[in-house]
């Protein structure tokens, strides 16, 4: 048996917390811990920034215009 470590628990539920899939009780427990723990709060803020950053980084390559034209050309011709 290892002792209960609230920061290790917070780390474990961080992703489901951000995905909003925790139960109300679990969520309240995580929020209470984040309110009082600077260590975890820093990491939570980082995780939030990271999600935005990742989404941005991978979305910056737009679909080539020629591909869009090729897809449009696949439509059934109107009679």
């Amino acid at each position: 048996m290892t002792a209960y470590d609230p920061c290790a628990h917070c780390e474990e539920v961080m992703q489901p917390f951000m995905d909003r899939v925790l139960t109300d009780d679990e969520r309240a427990q995580a929020e209470a811990h984040l309110d009082e723990c600077n260590y975890c709060r820093k990491r939570y803020r980082f995780e939030e920034n990271l999600r935005v950053f990742v989404r941005h980084a991978v979305a910056s390559e737009p679909m080539p215009v020629e591909l869009k034209q090729k897809l449009a050309a696949l439509r059934t011709p109107l009679q």
């Binding site: 992703q15 899939v21 980082f46 990742v54 941005h56 080539p64 869009k68 897809l71 059934t76």
Partner: protein, 197 residues
């Protein structure tokens, strides 16, 4: 008499043509979003472009099997992931051969430790580059990457991702959990292995 029997047919044909054109327009309007996901499900831009064309060709052929009112973007991506699997592009590794991931705080801890004393946690993420993210994502094994791409980049719910990939929702959750950690480990390797501000 012949007029009355022919007329409904003509109307039916016109309705069908209108529905089909509407379907095609809606599908094309989603192509940017579908491409964004497709681009990161496969290894190269060329593969993504091929796969997009196959997907749209099949979607336009089988448009009648789409149920109006359901999620068209998910329907298109279901076709796309099936085609991707059919083409044998994926080489699955068994789960026990996957790299070991670190905990959720691993990336932050690495980046923080590598900093030059700047302790503003809102700026830690800036120590990553766009290239770090893109190449780290391509290093994540397929099974895990599919789920991460659909949920974190494609904004699909767990349920939609489960339907698109034809796997149970519990599997989506466990692969997402591990996939994000593998991605973060990989980003840490990219960023801290190279130059870090």
């Amino acid at each position: 008499m012949s007029e009355t029997t022919r007329e409904p047919d003509a109307r039916q044909i016109a309705t069908e043509a209108r529905d089909r054109v509407r379907f095609e327009e809606e599908a094309l309007a989603l192509s940017d979003q579908v491409y964004r996901v497709a681009r990161h499900l496969v290894g190269s831009r060329e593969e993504a472009e091929d796969l997009m064309q196959e997907t749209y060709a099949r979607a336009f052929r089988s448009w009648r099997s789409f149920q109006p009112g359901t999620n068209l973007r998910a329907w298109l991506l279901r076709i796309l992931t099936n085609l991707n699997i059919d083409r044998g592009r994926r080489q699955q590794r068994s789960p026990d051969m996957q790299p070991l991931e670190e905990g959720d705080y691993f990336l932050y801890n690495k980046l923080e430790a590598s900093g030059d004393g700047d302790t503003d946690e809102d700026r830690v993420v800036e120590r990553l580059s766009q290239n770090d993210v893109v190449s780290a994502l391509s290093d994540v094994p397929h099974d895990f990457r599919d789920v991460v791409v659909l949920v974190d980049i494609g904004d699909f719910s767990y349920a939609d991702a489960a339907q698109i990939l034809d796997i149970p929702i519990g599997t989506v959750m466990s692969r997402l959990h591990r996939g994000r950690r593998i991605l973060k480990k990989s980003m840490a390797d990219q960023a801290v292995g190279g130059e870090v501000a």
